[in-house]
């Protein structure tokens, strides 16, 4: 099966243009993003630096005490490589203060809390710096729901939300994201040694091939089986997409009037821009 490919030159031109245009049209010139040391945020930092100039990009690394020290080192490496501003805001004090009241909390609750803690820091810096928050979720994790609602999924603009992880790898390589970051195993970094692919139970390359055919090409189940995917795998992924759909939508509003927000009150976000 041929791997899904994208024209990286085109992607780069469109995504750089997207950040430049969508930031400037709201009268701003700066962006802020969380830099985890992973490839997704590294790529977004590179795109933003090219779009607005590195001096207008603020990357914040927000480690927790259990984060792999290598992550912070990689975040610094990325910031240096693309020349963006870098600051460090550890989240251990706030997260630990909260869980002192809930010591029994499991790792999912702790992971979500950390993601949301980081979100509040980014949006606070948005106000501090007059900068828009850039999202760093890719299409694979958005479709699988492998992210925290109102946590890492929250942003003003997301340049890479329509790129599968496979595309993120390709574009990162083309844009010069440091090798160490491109080549390491993707990880949510909630604890040392955690990897996404182990937790998900399949590889990104595997699932991207399926998602591309299922979502983008709208192949039927029979066609997917014919293309070599196992029926059980297809079913698992379909359920993941379905069950995480709430994360990709705004909160549901009970309709009582003639014009309900987002149902029959419809405007683009770029209204008047």
């Amino acid at each position: 099966m041929a791997g899904i490919r994208a024209n990286t030159g085109l992607l780069r031109q469109i995504l750089v243009g997207f950040v430049r245009d969508e930031v400037r049209k709201v009268g701003l010139n700066k962006v802020v993003l969380g830099l985890s040391g992973g490839i997704d945020s590294a790529l977004v930092a590179f795109i933003a630096a090219e779009a607005l100039g590195p001096e207008n990009v603020h990357a914040i690394c927000m480690p927790y005490t259990s984060s792999n020290p290598e992550s912070e080192a990689h975040a610094r490496l990325v910031a240096q490589a693309c020349g963006v501003n870098f600051s460090l805001v550890p989240i251990t004090p706030m997260v630990d203060a909260y869980f002192a009241s809930f010591p029994e909390a499991d790792s999912m609750r702790r992971g979500n809390k950390m993601a949301r803690e980081r979100m509040t820091i980014l949006f606070d810096h948005s106000a501090l710096l007059s900068a828009l928050v850039l999202g760093t979720s890719n299409k694979t994790e958005l479709l699988l729901g492998y992210g925290t609602l109102y946590g890492d999924m929250a942003s003003a603009l997301n340049p890479i939300g329509d790129l599968y992880k496979s595309h993120v790898w390709q574009l990162s390589e083309a844009m010069g994201v440091p090798r160490a970051v491109v080549e390491k195993k993707p990880s949510a970094d909630l604890w040392a040694g955690q990897t996404d692919e182990e937790e998900l139970g399949f590889s990104y390359r595997q699932v991207d091939e399926l998602l591309y055919r299922m979502v983008d090409l709208r192949m039927t189940n029979a066609e997917l089986v014919g293309a070599g995917f196992e029926a059980e795998f297809i079913e698992t992924i379909y359920r993941k997409i379905q069950n995480s759909h709430f994360k990709r939508r705004l909160p549901v509003i009970a309709k009582v009037s003639n014009r309900t927000i987002d149902r029959d009150f419809r405007y683009s976000r770029d209204w008047g821009k």
Binding site: F18, L157, Y267, S268, W271
Partner: protein, 283 residues
């Protein structure tokens, strides 16, 4: 007919901002006049932006509105083709294109094919036009198309059979498809404009906008396609531009002599078969 100079104004309208867009359009018109051009073409919905949704009634203009009359005035100095939202006396809203010349409205085309699939939702907000008519301009007989109209063979065919030798297509085409050598929607359009020109021995002026609306990019690439199907000049991708072309009357004449397919097109056979199909479908 003699040669004439055209500018394709590849602009970036602001969504729902009539006054800002009108100012931008006027600047482009004045520049085109100063540069000695004779026709300026703007994109689909140049006065309003594209993803209007519920803004449609707020930005719609009557033909006798001050904004349209301002453009009509300017057409004393240069011919103008431009897209906007039109509101009629019975409060229907159309995705319309005007051809203005010598201080008058020469032609009004209301978009017939309103795409309502994928990322498009035009039929929810807009009324459908019901005619394709060629019209006379001082540069010869022309036809106006608005974006999706051109994806229907019959639209360009009717205009060519009605005598148009120049087809002007106003577009707001979203860019998508990054798997191949070039942007998927751009290559598709380029095949379409070239094939249409070749089939009908017509010149095609294609004006597409640029900029982003809610993350959707409009790819530009406005072009002049000669009756041979060759794209002679093409605007930049994804960036504002001003594409200047001289439309060569000699090239049109020669193409129609070398490849007289349109002359040989048999309207009688076409009509007879279309009537049969109409009958058989019980329309």
């Amino acid at each position: 007919m003699s040669d004439f100079r055209v500018v394709l104004a590849q602009i970036k309208p602001k969504l729902g901002c009539l006054a800002d867009n009108l100012a931008l359009i006027e600047t482009r018109i004045r520049q085109a006049i100063a540069d000695g051009n004779e026709l300026i073409v703007f994109p689909e919905l140049a006065l309003t932006g594209y993803f209007l949704k519920d803004l449609v009634p707020e930005v719609a203009l009557r033909l006798d509105s001050s904004q349209i009359q301002r453009l009509v005035e300017l057409s004393r100095q240069i011919s103008i083709a431009i897209g906007f939202v039109e509101v009629t006396d019975d409060y229907r809203f159309f995705n319309s294109a005007l051809y203005l010349e010598d201080g008058a409205i020469r032609h009004l085309h209301r978009k017939v094919y309103l795409p309502t699939y994928g990322l498009f939702d035009e039929q929810r907000y807009l009324a459908r036009g019901e005619r394709f008519r060629a019209f006379d301009s001082k540069f010869g007989r022309m036809g106006l198309l608005v974006c999706e109209d051109m994806w229907h063979l019959s639209a360009s065919y009717i205009l060519a059979m009605d005598g148009a030798t120049t087809l002007i297509c106003l577009s707001s085409s979203p860019g998508r498809g990054t798997e191949g050598e070039s942007l998927g929607s751009a290559s598709a359009w380029q095949r379409l404009t070239s094939t249409t020109a070749m089939f009908l021995n017509c010149r095609v002026l294609y004006c597409n906008r640029v900029g982003f609306e809610d993350g959707v990019n409009f790819w530009g690439g406005s072009e002049y396609v000669a009756p041979s199907g060759d794209s002679l000049v093409r605007g930049t991708f994804l960036e504002e531009d001003s594409v200047v072309a001289t439309l060569d009357e000699g090239a049109l004449r020669r193409e129609r002599i070398f490849s007289p397919m349109l002359r040989d097109e048999n309207l009688f056979v076409t009509m007879q078969e279309l009537r049969r199909i109409e009958r058989e479908r019980g329309l």
